[in-house]
Protein backbone atom coordinates (compact mmCIF):
# COMPACT_ATOMS: atom_id res chain seq x y z
CA UNK A 1 0.00 0.00 0.00
CA UNK A 2 2.82 2.36 0.94
CA UNK A 3 4.70 1.27 -2.19
CA UNK A 4 1.75 2.29 -4.34
CA UNK A 5 1.61 5.74 -2.77
CA UNK A 6 5.34 6.25 -3.32
CA UNK A 7 4.79 5.23 -6.94
CA UNK A 8 2.01 7.84 -7.21
CA UNK A 9 4.30 10.49 -5.75
CA UNK A 10 7.47 9.73 -7.65
CA UNK A 11 6.45 8.18 -10.96
CA UNK A 12 3.07 8.45 -12.58
CA UNK A 13 0.97 11.47 -11.75
CA UNK A 14 3.76 12.88 -9.62
CA UNK A 15 7.38 13.84 -10.12
CA UNK A 16 8.63 11.93 -13.16
CA UNK A 17 5.53 12.27 -15.36
CA UNK A 18 5.04 15.96 -14.61
CA UNK A 19 8.72 16.80 -15.10
CA UNK A 20 9.00 15.01 -18.45
CA UNK A 21 5.70 16.39 -19.76
CA UNK A 22 6.49 19.86 -18.46
CA UNK A 23 9.94 19.93 -20.08
CA UNK A 24 8.44 18.75 -23.38
CA UNK A 25 5.73 21.41 -23.20
CA UNK A 26 8.46 23.93 -22.43
CA UNK A 27 10.12 22.85 -25.67
CA UNK A 28 6.79 23.25 -27.51
CA UNK A 29 6.51 26.76 -26.11
CA UNK A 30 10.01 27.67 -27.30
CA UNK A 31 9.45 26.06 -30.70
CA UNK A 32 6.12 27.84 -31.29
CA UNK A 33 7.60 31.13 -30.08
CA UNK A 34 10.47 30.58 -32.55
CA UNK A 35 8.07 30.05 -35.42
CA UNK A 36 6.23 33.22 -34.39
CA UNK A 37 9.52 35.02 -35.03
CA UNK A 38 10.32 33.05 -38.24
CA UNK A 39 13.13 31.10 -36.59
CA UNK A 40 13.90 27.39 -36.42
CA UNK A 41 13.92 27.00 -32.66
CA UNK A 42 15.66 24.56 -30.32
CA UNK A 43 15.78 20.75 -30.71
CA UNK A 44 13.25 18.64 -28.82
CA UNK A 45 15.47 17.64 -25.88
CA UNK A 46 16.82 21.15 -25.34
CA UNK A 47 15.20 21.63 -21.94
CA UNK A 48 16.50 18.26 -20.72
CA UNK A 49 20.00 19.27 -21.77
CA UNK A 50 19.64 22.59 -19.95
CA UNK A 51 18.50 20.90 -16.73
CA UNK A 52 21.21 18.21 -16.81
CA UNK A 53 23.85 20.82 -17.53
CA UNK A 54 22.69 22.98 -14.61
CA UNK A 55 22.69 19.96 -12.28
CA UNK A 56 26.39 19.43 -12.98
CA UNK A 57 27.52 22.99 -12.43
CA UNK A 58 28.96 24.64 -9.38
CA UNK A 59 26.66 26.12 -6.71
CA UNK A 60 27.76 29.53 -5.52
CA UNK A 61 26.59 30.49 -2.04
CA UNK A 62 27.24 34.07 -1.05
CA UNK A 63 28.99 34.54 2.27
CA UNK A 64 27.13 37.61 3.55
CA UNK A 65 23.62 36.27 2.99
CA UNK A 66 21.29 33.91 4.77
CA UNK A 67 22.53 30.73 3.10
CA UNK A 68 19.99 28.41 4.76
CA UNK A 69 16.97 30.32 3.50
CA UNK A 70 18.64 30.92 0.14
CA UNK A 71 19.20 27.19 -0.41
CA UNK A 72 15.97 25.95 1.15
CA UNK A 73 13.60 28.18 -0.87
CA UNK A 74 13.96 26.26 -4.19
CA UNK A 75 13.83 22.91 -2.40
CA UNK A 76 10.60 23.89 -0.63
CA UNK A 77 9.06 25.16 -3.87
CA UNK A 78 10.06 21.95 -5.62
CA UNK A 79 8.56 19.69 -2.95
CA UNK A 80 5.28 21.64 -3.00
CA UNK A 81 5.20 21.33 -6.79
CA UNK A 82 5.69 17.56 -6.58
CA UNK A 83 2.87 17.27 -4.03
CA UNK A 84 0.57 19.45 -6.17
CA UNK A 85 1.31 17.44 -9.30
CA UNK A 86 0.53 14.20 -7.48
CA UNK A 87 -2.73 15.38 -5.94
CA UNK A 88 -4.03 16.95 -9.16
CA UNK A 89 -2.93 13.95 -11.22
CA UNK A 90 -4.70 11.55 -8.86
CA UNK A 91 -7.96 13.46 -9.30
CA UNK A 92 -7.61 13.58 -13.08
CA UNK A 93 -6.28 10.12 -13.90
CA UNK A 94 -7.57 7.91 -11.08
CA UNK A 95 -10.57 9.84 -9.76
CA UNK A 96 -9.13 9.75 -6.27
CA UNK A 97 -9.58 12.67 -3.90
CA UNK A 98 -6.57 13.32 -1.70
CA UNK A 99 -8.31 14.36 1.52
CA UNK A 100 -7.76 18.07 1.01
CA UNK A 101 -10.10 20.32 -0.91
CA UNK A 102 -9.93 23.27 -3.27
CA UNK A 103 -9.06 25.66 -0.44
CA UNK A 104 -5.83 23.73 0.24
CA UNK A 105 -5.09 24.03 -3.48
CA UNK A 106 -5.51 27.82 -3.37
CA UNK A 107 -2.94 28.02 -0.56
CA UNK A 108 -0.47 25.69 -2.28
CA UNK A 109 -0.70 27.51 -5.62
CA UNK A 110 0.36 30.66 -3.82
CA UNK A 111 3.39 28.91 -2.37
CA UNK A 112 5.59 29.09 -5.46
CA UNK A 113 5.34 32.89 -5.48
CA UNK A 114 6.06 32.96 -1.74
CA UNK A 115 9.15 30.79 -2.26
CA UNK A 116 10.34 33.11 -5.05
CA UNK A 117 9.86 36.10 -2.72
CA UNK A 118 11.77 34.40 0.12
CA UNK A 119 14.58 33.17 -2.12
CA UNK A 120 14.93 36.46 -3.94
CA UNK A 121 15.03 38.44 -0.72
CA UNK A 122 17.56 36.08 0.88
CA UNK A 123 20.10 36.46 -1.91
CA UNK A 124 21.07 39.95 -0.80
CA UNK A 125 21.19 41.38 -4.31
CA UNK A 126 19.54 44.70 -5.04
CA UNK A 127 18.01 43.56 -8.33
CA UNK A 128 16.82 40.31 -6.75
CA UNK A 129 15.04 42.14 -3.96
CA UNK A 130 13.46 44.50 -6.51
CA UNK A 131 12.22 41.43 -8.36
CA UNK A 132 10.90 39.95 -5.12
CA UNK A 133 9.03 43.18 -4.43
CA UNK A 134 7.47 43.06 -7.87
CA UNK A 135 6.49 39.43 -7.26
CA UNK A 136 4.65 40.49 -4.08
CA UNK A 137 2.70 43.13 -6.02
CA UNK A 138 1.89 40.66 -8.80
CA UNK A 139 0.71 38.14 -6.21
CA UNK A 140 -1.55 40.80 -4.66
CA UNK A 141 -2.89 41.56 -8.12
CA UNK A 142 -3.75 38.07 -9.35
CA UNK A 143 -4.70 36.35 -6.10
CA UNK A 144 -8.11 38.07 -5.71
CA UNK A 145 -9.22 37.23 -9.25
CA UNK A 146 -7.88 33.67 -8.90
CA UNK A 147 -9.83 32.99 -5.69
CA UNK A 148 -12.97 34.49 -7.22
CA UNK A 149 -12.82 32.20 -10.25
CA UNK A 150 -12.20 29.20 -7.97
CA UNK A 151 -15.57 30.02 -6.34
CA UNK A 152 -17.50 29.70 -9.62
CA UNK A 153 -17.18 25.88 -9.96
CA UNK A 154 -17.87 25.53 -6.22
CA UNK A 155 -21.18 27.41 -6.59
CA UNK A 156 -22.14 25.66 -9.82
CA UNK A 157 -21.51 22.20 -8.37
CA UNK A 158 -23.88 22.94 -5.50
CA UNK A 159 -21.35 24.14 -2.91
CA UNK A 160 -19.00 21.15 -3.04
CA UNK A 161 -15.39 21.76 -2.10
CA UNK A 162 -13.58 18.56 -3.12
CA UNK A 163 -11.84 18.55 -6.49
CA UNK A 164 -13.10 15.05 -7.15
CA UNK A 165 -16.69 16.08 -6.41
CA UNK A 166 -16.39 19.06 -8.77
CA UNK A 167 -15.31 16.68 -11.56
CA UNK A 168 -18.22 14.34 -10.84
CA UNK A 169 -20.68 17.28 -10.80
CA UNK A 170 -19.62 18.06 -14.38
CA UNK A 171 -20.39 14.57 -15.71
CA UNK A 172 -23.51 15.87 -17.52
CA UNK A 173 -21.85 18.88 -19.15
CA UNK A 174 -18.72 20.87 -18.35
CA UNK A 175 -19.01 24.28 -16.67
CA UNK A 176 -17.31 25.96 -19.64
CA UNK A 177 -20.60 25.58 -21.54
CA UNK A 178 -22.34 28.15 -19.35
CA UNK A 179 -21.72 31.90 -19.41
CA UNK A 180 -20.35 32.07 -15.87
CA UNK A 181 -18.06 29.09 -16.52
CA UNK A 182 -16.73 30.75 -19.66
CA UNK A 183 -16.02 33.99 -17.78
CA UNK A 184 -14.28 31.97 -15.08
CA UNK A 185 -12.11 30.14 -17.60
CA UNK A 186 -11.13 33.38 -19.33
CA UNK A 187 -10.10 35.14 -16.11
CA UNK A 188 -8.45 31.96 -14.87
CA UNK A 189 -6.28 31.77 -17.98
CA UNK A 190 -5.00 35.31 -17.33
CA UNK A 191 -4.42 34.56 -13.63
CA UNK A 192 -2.38 31.49 -14.57
CA UNK A 193 -0.33 33.61 -16.96
CA UNK A 194 0.42 35.94 -14.04
CA UNK A 195 1.10 33.13 -11.56
CA UNK A 196 3.60 31.50 -13.92
CA UNK A 197 5.13 34.96 -14.58
CA UNK A 198 4.85 34.41 -18.32
CA UNK A 199 4.69 37.36 -20.70
CA UNK A 200 2.92 39.84 -20.53
CA UNK A 201 3.25 39.38 -16.75
CA UNK A 202 6.96 38.51 -16.53
CA UNK A 203 7.43 41.67 -14.50
CA UNK A 204 9.45 40.10 -11.61
CA UNK A 205 12.09 38.48 -13.80
CA UNK A 206 12.32 41.21 -16.42
CA UNK A 207 15.40 40.14 -18.36
CA UNK A 208 16.14 43.54 -19.80
CA UNK A 209 16.31 45.63 -16.64
CA UNK A 210 16.39 43.20 -13.69
CA UNK A 211 18.42 40.37 -15.28
CA UNK A 212 16.26 37.40 -14.17
CA UNK A 213 15.19 39.22 -10.98
CA UNK A 214 14.81 36.89 -7.99
CA UNK A 215 16.73 34.07 -9.69
CA UNK A 216 19.72 36.28 -10.38
CA UNK A 217 22.08 34.88 -7.71
CA UNK A 218 21.08 31.24 -8.17
CA UNK A 219 23.42 28.92 -10.01
CA UNK A 220 23.86 25.21 -10.68
CA UNK A 221 21.46 22.65 -9.15
CA UNK A 222 19.47 25.26 -7.19
CA UNK A 223 18.72 27.11 -10.43
CA UNK A 224 17.84 23.76 -12.01
CA UNK A 225 15.24 23.23 -9.26
CA UNK A 226 13.66 26.61 -10.03
CA UNK A 227 13.64 25.81 -13.74
CA UNK A 228 12.04 22.40 -13.12
CA UNK A 229 9.37 24.08 -10.95
CA UNK A 230 8.62 26.57 -13.71
CA UNK A 231 8.27 23.76 -16.23
CA UNK A 232 6.10 21.66 -13.90
CA UNK A 233 3.68 24.57 -13.73
CA UNK A 234 3.07 24.12 -17.48
CA UNK A 235 1.35 20.88 -16.45
CA UNK A 236 -0.15 21.66 -13.05
CA UNK A 237 -2.04 24.88 -13.83
CA UNK A 238 -3.69 23.69 -17.09
CA UNK A 239 -4.70 20.46 -15.33
CA UNK A 240 -6.26 22.53 -12.55
CA UNK A 241 -8.28 24.55 -15.08
CA UNK A 242 -9.36 21.29 -16.74
CA UNK A 243 -10.64 20.05 -13.37
CA UNK A 244 -12.48 23.29 -12.63
CA UNK A 245 -14.08 24.07 -16.01
CA UNK A 246 -13.59 21.21 -18.49
CA UNK A 247 -14.91 18.37 -16.38
CA UNK A 248 -11.66 16.43 -16.01
CA UNK A 249 -10.50 13.54 -18.18
CA UNK A 250 -12.58 10.55 -19.30
CA UNK A 251 -9.82 8.12 -20.25
CA UNK A 252 -11.72 5.50 -22.25
CA UNK A 253 -11.89 5.29 -26.05
CA UNK A 254 -12.44 8.67 -27.71
CA UNK A 255 -12.10 10.34 -24.30
CA UNK A 256 -8.30 10.10 -24.54
CA UNK A 257 -8.37 12.26 -27.66
CA UNK A 258 -10.66 14.76 -25.92
CA UNK A 259 -8.32 14.85 -22.92
CA UNK A 260 -5.34 15.67 -25.14
CA UNK A 261 -7.39 18.29 -27.03
CA UNK A 262 -8.45 20.02 -23.81
CA UNK A 263 -4.85 20.21 -22.61
CA UNK A 264 -3.49 21.37 -25.98
CA UNK A 265 -6.20 24.04 -26.27
CA UNK A 266 -5.17 25.64 -22.96
CA UNK A 267 -1.45 25.40 -23.82
CA UNK A 268 -1.97 26.97 -27.25
CA UNK A 269 -4.02 29.83 -25.79
CA UNK A 270 -1.29 30.48 -23.22
CA UNK A 271 1.45 30.46 -25.86
CA UNK A 272 -0.53 32.84 -28.09
CA UNK A 273 -1.11 35.28 -25.21
CA UNK A 274 2.58 34.99 -24.31
CA UNK A 275 3.82 35.76 -27.79
CA UNK A 276 1.51 38.57 -28.79
CA UNK A 277 1.87 40.84 -25.76
CA UNK A 278 4.79 42.94 -24.54
CA UNK A 279 5.60 43.27 -20.85
CA UNK A 280 3.32 45.63 -18.97
CA UNK A 281 4.21 47.86 -16.04
CA UNK A 282 3.46 46.71 -12.51
CA UNK A 283 0.81 49.42 -11.95
CA UNK A 284 -0.86 48.44 -15.22
CA UNK A 285 -0.95 44.84 -14.05
CA UNK A 286 -2.52 45.83 -10.72
CA UNK A 287 -5.03 48.05 -12.54
CA UNK A 288 -5.84 45.29 -15.00
CA UNK A 289 -6.53 42.68 -12.34
CA UNK A 290 -8.28 44.89 -9.80
CA UNK A 291 -10.28 47.08 -12.16
CA UNK A 292 -11.19 44.65 -14.94
CA UNK A 293 -10.45 40.98 -14.17
CA UNK A 294 -11.78 40.84 -10.60
CA UNK A 295 -15.11 42.61 -11.32
CA UNK A 296 -15.53 40.31 -14.33
CA UNK A 297 -14.98 37.29 -12.06
CA UNK A 298 -17.48 38.81 -9.60
CA UNK A 299 -20.06 39.07 -12.40
CA UNK A 300 -19.30 35.42 -13.12
CA UNK A 301 -20.04 34.52 -9.49
CA UNK A 302 -23.35 36.43 -9.56
CA UNK A 303 -24.31 34.63 -12.78
CA UNK A 304 -23.34 31.31 -11.20
CA UNK A 305 -25.54 32.02 -8.18
CA UNK A 306 -28.40 32.89 -10.56
CA UNK A 307 -27.74 29.58 -12.31
CA UNK A 308 -26.75 30.89 -15.74
Amino acid sequence: MIGKQILYLLVFPGLLFTCVLGLLIGWLDRKVSASFQFRVGPPIFQNFNDIFKLLGKEVILIKDTNITVFALAPIAAFSVMVFLSMSIGLVLFYGLGFGGDIIVMMYLFMFFSVAIIIGGSASGNVLSSLGAGREIKLLLADELAFILICLIPIIKSGYLLGLNEIVIAQSDGAFIGSISGFIGFLVGLLCIQAKMTLPPFHIPEAETELAEGPLMEYSGPLLALWKICQHMMWVIFPFFLIILFFGGFNLVGIGILWAILKYVLIIVLMIIIKNTNPRIQIDTALKFFWRYASPLALIGIILAVLGV
Binding site: P42, F45, N49, F52, I60
Partner: protein, 139 residues
Protein backbone atom coordinates in the same frame (compact mmCIF):
# COMPACT_ATOMS: atom_id res chain seq x y z
CA UNK B 1 32.73 13.30 -17.97
CA UNK B 2 32.07 12.61 -21.65
CA UNK B 3 28.32 12.41 -21.12
CA UNK B 4 28.20 15.63 -19.15
CA UNK B 5 30.33 17.47 -21.71
CA UNK B 6 27.88 16.48 -24.44
CA UNK B 7 25.01 17.96 -22.39
CA UNK B 8 27.07 21.10 -21.80
CA UNK B 9 27.87 21.40 -25.51
CA UNK B 10 24.17 21.38 -26.32
CA UNK B 11 23.21 24.15 -23.94
CA UNK B 12 25.83 26.89 -23.77
CA UNK B 13 24.41 29.93 -22.02
CA UNK B 14 26.22 33.06 -22.99
CA UNK B 15 26.96 36.10 -20.86
CA UNK B 16 28.20 39.26 -22.46
CA UNK B 17 31.12 40.92 -20.67
CA UNK B 18 32.05 44.22 -22.22
CA UNK B 19 35.47 45.33 -21.07
CA UNK B 20 35.82 48.87 -22.46
CA UNK B 21 34.99 48.07 -26.09
CA UNK B 22 34.17 50.54 -28.84
CA UNK B 23 30.71 48.85 -28.98
CA UNK B 24 31.32 47.56 -32.48
CA UNK B 25 31.76 43.94 -31.41
CA UNK B 26 28.81 44.29 -29.01
CA UNK B 27 26.56 45.31 -31.87
CA UNK B 28 27.75 42.30 -33.85
CA UNK B 29 27.01 40.05 -30.84
CA UNK B 30 23.50 41.48 -30.70
CA UNK B 31 23.21 40.80 -34.44
CA UNK B 32 24.18 37.21 -33.70
CA UNK B 33 21.21 36.85 -31.37
CA UNK B 34 18.65 38.13 -33.88
CA UNK B 35 16.18 35.76 -35.58
CA UNK B 36 18.23 35.73 -38.78
CA UNK B 37 21.07 33.68 -37.29
CA UNK B 38 18.89 31.95 -34.63
CA UNK B 39 21.54 30.53 -32.30
CA UNK B 40 18.78 29.04 -30.13
CA UNK B 41 18.76 26.06 -32.50
CA UNK B 42 22.26 25.28 -31.17
CA UNK B 43 21.00 25.67 -27.60
CA UNK B 44 22.74 29.00 -27.10
CA UNK B 45 20.88 31.52 -24.96
CA UNK B 46 21.83 34.98 -23.76
CA UNK B 47 21.43 35.15 -19.97
CA UNK B 48 21.26 38.30 -17.92
CA UNK B 49 23.16 37.08 -14.86
CA UNK B 50 26.76 35.87 -14.73
CA UNK B 51 25.77 33.23 -12.18
CA UNK B 52 24.01 31.28 -14.92
CA UNK B 53 26.65 31.63 -17.62
CA UNK B 54 28.67 28.90 -19.32
CA UNK B 55 30.46 31.10 -21.81
CA UNK B 56 31.73 34.62 -21.22
CA UNK B 57 31.91 36.65 -24.42
CA UNK B 58 34.59 39.24 -23.65
CA UNK B 59 34.89 42.25 -25.91
CA UNK B 60 37.22 45.22 -25.82
CA UNK B 61 40.78 45.93 -24.86
CA UNK B 62 41.72 45.12 -21.24
CA UNK B 63 42.96 48.26 -19.57
CA UNK B 64 44.11 48.75 -16.01
CA UNK B 65 40.76 50.07 -14.89
CA UNK B 66 38.56 47.32 -16.28
CA UNK B 67 40.85 44.30 -15.81
CA UNK B 68 40.03 43.79 -12.07
CA UNK B 69 36.33 43.93 -12.91
CA UNK B 70 36.67 41.30 -15.64
CA UNK B 71 38.61 39.12 -13.21
CA UNK B 72 35.85 39.55 -10.61
CA UNK B 73 33.17 38.63 -13.14
CA UNK B 74 35.14 35.52 -14.09
CA UNK B 75 35.36 34.51 -10.45
CA UNK B 76 31.61 35.05 -9.99
CA UNK B 77 30.74 32.63 -12.78
CA UNK B 78 30.08 29.01 -11.75
CA UNK B 79 32.67 26.59 -13.12
CA UNK B 80 33.03 25.04 -15.69
CA UNK B 81 33.00 28.29 -17.65
CA UNK B 82 34.66 29.15 -20.96
CA UNK B 83 35.95 32.50 -22.08
CA UNK B 84 35.65 33.52 -25.71
CA UNK B 85 37.41 36.73 -26.65
CA UNK B 86 35.51 38.53 -29.42
CA UNK B 87 37.32 40.93 -31.71
CA UNK B 88 40.90 41.96 -32.34
CA UNK B 89 41.15 44.02 -29.14
CA UNK B 90 41.34 41.12 -26.65
CA UNK B 91 43.33 39.06 -29.15
CA UNK B 92 46.18 41.47 -29.83
CA UNK B 93 45.35 44.88 -28.44
CA UNK B 94 44.51 46.27 -31.87
CA UNK B 95 45.23 49.95 -32.18
CA UNK B 96 45.47 50.33 -28.41
CA UNK B 97 48.36 47.91 -27.91
CA UNK B 98 50.96 50.62 -27.19
CA UNK B 99 48.63 52.65 -24.99
CA UNK B 100 49.83 53.57 -21.49
CA UNK B 101 47.05 51.76 -19.61
CA UNK B 102 46.62 48.58 -21.65
CA UNK B 103 47.30 45.39 -19.69
CA UNK B 104 50.45 43.73 -21.03
CA UNK B 105 49.44 40.07 -20.73
CA UNK B 106 45.72 39.50 -21.01
CA UNK B 107 46.14 35.82 -20.14
CA UNK B 108 47.14 36.84 -16.62
CA UNK B 109 43.76 38.48 -16.02
CA UNK B 110 41.53 35.55 -17.03
CA UNK B 111 42.29 32.31 -18.93
CA UNK B 112 40.99 32.80 -22.47
CA UNK B 113 39.91 29.63 -24.27
CA UNK B 114 39.24 30.99 -27.72
CA UNK B 115 39.94 34.11 -29.78
CA UNK B 116 37.75 35.39 -32.59
CA UNK B 117 39.79 38.02 -34.48
CA UNK B 118 38.12 40.64 -36.62
CA UNK B 119 37.27 44.27 -36.16
CA UNK B 120 34.44 43.48 -35.67
CA UNK B 121 34.13 39.74 -36.45
CA UNK B 122 31.12 38.78 -38.52
CA UNK B 123 28.33 36.82 -36.80
CA UNK B 124 29.20 33.87 -39.07
CA UNK B 125 32.72 33.85 -37.62
CA UNK B 126 31.30 33.81 -34.08
CA UNK B 127 28.98 30.91 -34.93
CA UNK B 128 31.96 29.02 -36.34
CA UNK B 129 33.94 29.67 -33.16
CA UNK B 130 31.11 28.45 -30.96
CA UNK B 131 30.72 25.40 -33.20
CA UNK B 132 34.44 24.69 -32.70
CA UNK B 133 33.97 24.99 -28.94
CA UNK B 134 31.08 22.51 -29.17
CA UNK B 135 33.33 20.20 -31.22
CA UNK B 136 36.05 20.35 -28.54
CA UNK B 137 33.50 19.54 -25.83
CA UNK B 138 32.14 16.60 -27.81
CA UNK B 139 35.69 15.26 -28.05
Amino acid sequence: MGWYNKRLAKSLWVFHVSGSPCNNCDIEILDLLTPKYDVERLGIKLVGSVRQADVLLVTGVFNNKVAPKIKKLYEQAPKPVFVVAVGTCPASGCTFKDSYNTVEKREDVIPIDMYIPGCPPKPEAMIEAVAKLIGVLNG
